[in-house]
């Protein structure tokens, strides 16, 4: 006991002479703490990586992953020649850009508007409302979308929107099966589900602004709109930039959960993204092209890694903590 205490009290003195055993004796508890997580990481996060070799192999179930035959870059050539892959790739990027233009901007705007609400009580009620959808899963949310947008069927009069259209005397619209509407549905449903929650980061940044700034601005004759543009917005700009960079880092990632639960065969042309395509050709939809799926995953991962590497550099240049 006393030995341990003195070792902690004079770490610098002991540092050089400390052998491996003494070091472990001193910190064994910390190593014990990380052990379960470490084992879990090695098995479940790094364990699967041996399967990446499938990207360069022709998989035969009998021979298994290790025994299958090497075929070089054939899978990658097949991937590039596959029109469905190209379509999924383009869709992924286009949808992400839509999310960036509409969703991201909306998040910032919503945060500013929430902050401008005058009554504190009302503001917190509003916050409670807008954060809520974030916690529902995409399965539930796709159910809600269906309840609202479905076209009239044989057994019922369709979703609420189509009921209203019918009441107004219009023709029902089959929202969920129109390829040209699908990306819009993705963006809007994602705004409703996640925008409220995304404002938390900005509202936290706004909360950190010195109130004296607003007071002196008001004395100088600025109204609330001026204060918003010249004080609040510049102050949250660093957070906005970080969130923007993080979102850019996900340019090649697609939201499997959302797309899988909302899409159907009618909207594949505009809605099929990489993650859903990878799933369909390997485990879902009767496909068993394990090699192609692995190859696509590998390419996506590598591209993502490059983008994240670049963006993390920029994030660390700003005065905030990078991810690493």
């Amino acid at each position: 006991m006393s030995q341990k205490t003195s070792a902690i009290a004079q770490p610098v003195l002991n540092k050089r002479k400390t052998g491996f055993i003494t070091y472990i004796k001193k910190y064994w508890f910390l190593y014990m703490l990380i052990l379960p997580g470490f084992i879990s990481m090695v098995i479940f996060d790094y364990g699967p990586m041996y399967g990446i070799q499938l990207a360069f192999k022709k998989y035969s179930p009998k021979a298994g992953v290790w025994g299958s035959q090497w075929i070089g870059l054939d899978n990658f050539q097949r991937m590039i020649a596959d029109p469905s892959f190209v379509r999924a790739f383009t869709n992924t990027i286009i949808i992400n850009i839509y999310h960036l233009i509409f969703g991201f901007t909306f998040n910032v705007f919503l945060a500013l508007m929430l902050n401008e609400l005058k009554f504190r009580k009302y503001k917190s009620v509003m916050q409670t409302c807008v954060y809520l959808p974030y916690f529902l899963s995409w399965v539930i949310f796709s159910g809600l979308v269906q309840v609202f947008l479905e076209s009239p069927g044989t057994a019922d009069s369709g979703g609420l929107v189509n009921q209203l259209i019918a009441m107004a005397g219009g023709q029902p619209i089959d929202f969920l099966k129109r390829p040209e509407l699908f990306r819009g549905i993705l963006v809007i449903s994602s705004i409703i589900k996640t925008s409220g929650y995304s404002t938390i980061v900005y509202l936290a940044a706004i909360a950190g602004i010195d109130p004296a700034l607003y007071e002196s601005a008001a004395i100088d004759g600025a109204n609330r709109k001026d204060a918003l543009i010249h004080i609040t917005f510049p102050r949250i700009l660093p957070s906005v930039v970080i969130m923007l960079i993080l979102q850019l880092a996900g340019l090649f990632l697609s939201n499997f959960d959302q797309v899988y639960n909302l899409y159907n065969n009618y909207v594949l042309s505009t809605g099929d993204v990489l993650s859903t395509y990878i799933y369909r050709i390997s485990l879902g939809g009767g496909g068993t092209d394990f090699e192609l799926s692995t190859a696509m995953n590998l390419i996506m991962n590598l591209m993502g890694l490059v983008v994240v590497g670049i963006t993390n550099k920029y994030v660390s240049k700003l005065d905030v903590q990078g991810i690493f």
């Binding site: 379960p36 997580g37 790094y46 699967p48 539930i140």
Partner: protein
């Protein structure tokens, strides 16, 4: 202050005297309409799911349950065996994964937050690297097959034990939000590392742990992915989220439930009504923990996001 500025422009209406102007009205309307968009769908589904058949078929905005509350659709879905079973699967899986995940992740995050200890920085980099690079779906599948986890209940629990996102949040919390002096004082006073962790650090971080446990619980309750990918067709292991998905897209499942409802003695319920009641059942547990979540998560998500 503002009124003065307005007065200098020479146009003061009644509303402006009260402290309102066009700007405030815009802000108020914008936020209110968006908030309604967020909660009305849930309210609509809740009201519609308890509306009696005769009123339900009329449609409309369903702002309030007209014609009384009728739970026939709930009776219909819960007379189907797979519903009760899936509730059990989801609940047990949620409890098991949440407890294991919080314990494993928090312990590791605390250890790794001690960056002066040899190896911790490397371990940290190894964990975070996984956020951006993983084997992918098929390699995962292959590994689980080798481990005998395919079609087993445990594939829904074990692989998620270390949650990387919350690992980062917890690590930042331990590094930045717990005063260093507190731990140092405890150590100097003769408290061991073990004692410091259990008697100083853990009590302080209790509310952070509770918040993260709730977050992880919600994720686990919502999870259908692990079932869909790695179990697939074992109906006795279906989580509730998967049942809901089947109710939304699987016509055979829907017909089965409707047939079951008919034997209860009513006309076949409209598919939409059955979907709505299933949605409400899936939402209910989340709604129950939401007040607690909300109390914590504003601080939870920003933990460690801002350097002090």
């Amino acid at each position: 202050m503002m009124e003065k500025t307005q007065e200098s422009h020479g146009r003061v209406s009644m509303l402006q005297r009260l402290g309102f102007n066009f700007y405030d009205v815009f802000v108020f309307l914008f936020v209110t309409i968006f908030a309604l968009l967020c909660v009305y769908p849930m309210w609509y589904v809740l009201v519609a799911s308890v509306t009696p058949y005769s009123e339900f078929v009329k449609g409309g905005l369903m702002l309030w349950p007209s014609g009384g509350v009728d739970l026939q659709y709930y009776r219909a879905i819960f007379s189907t065996r797979s519903f009760i079973n899936s509730m059990w699967i989801s609940a047990s899986k949620t409890v098991l994964s949440t407890v294991s995940s919080v314990l494993v992740t928090a312990a590791m995050a605390y250890g790794v937050s001690k960056t002066h200890v040899k190896g911790m920085k490397v371990v940290n980099a190894l964990v975070v690297f996984n956020l951006f690079f993983s084997g992918g779906l098929i390699p995962q599948y292959m590994l689980y097959k080798d481990l005998g986890l395919i079609r087993s209940y445990w594939v829904m629990v074990l692989p998620g034990m270390l949650n990387i996102t919350y690992f980062i949040i917890m690590r930042n919390y331990y590094s930045y939000s717990i005063p260093k002096s507190l731990e140092e004082a405890a150590l100097l006073d003769g408290c061991t590392e073990v004692g410091t962790f259990f008697r100083v650090v853990t009590p302080i971080s209790r509310s952070m742990l509770a918040a993260i446990a709730l977050f992880i619980a919600v994720i686990n309750w919502n999870d259908y992915y692990s079932y869909m990918m790695f179990i697939g067709n074992k109906t006795n292991l279906q989580p509730f989220a998967w049942i809901l998905r089947r109710m939304l897209v699987d016509q055979t499942m829907m017909n089965q439930v409707r047939k079951g409802a008919m034997s209860l003695g009513s006309q076949p319920p409209p598919p939409m009504a059955l979907r709505m009641s299933t949605i409400i059942c899936a939402m209910l547990p989340i709604m129950c923990v939401y007040p607690f979540l909300q109390r914590y998560f504003t601080s939870g998500i920003t933990l460690g996001a801002v350097k002090e």
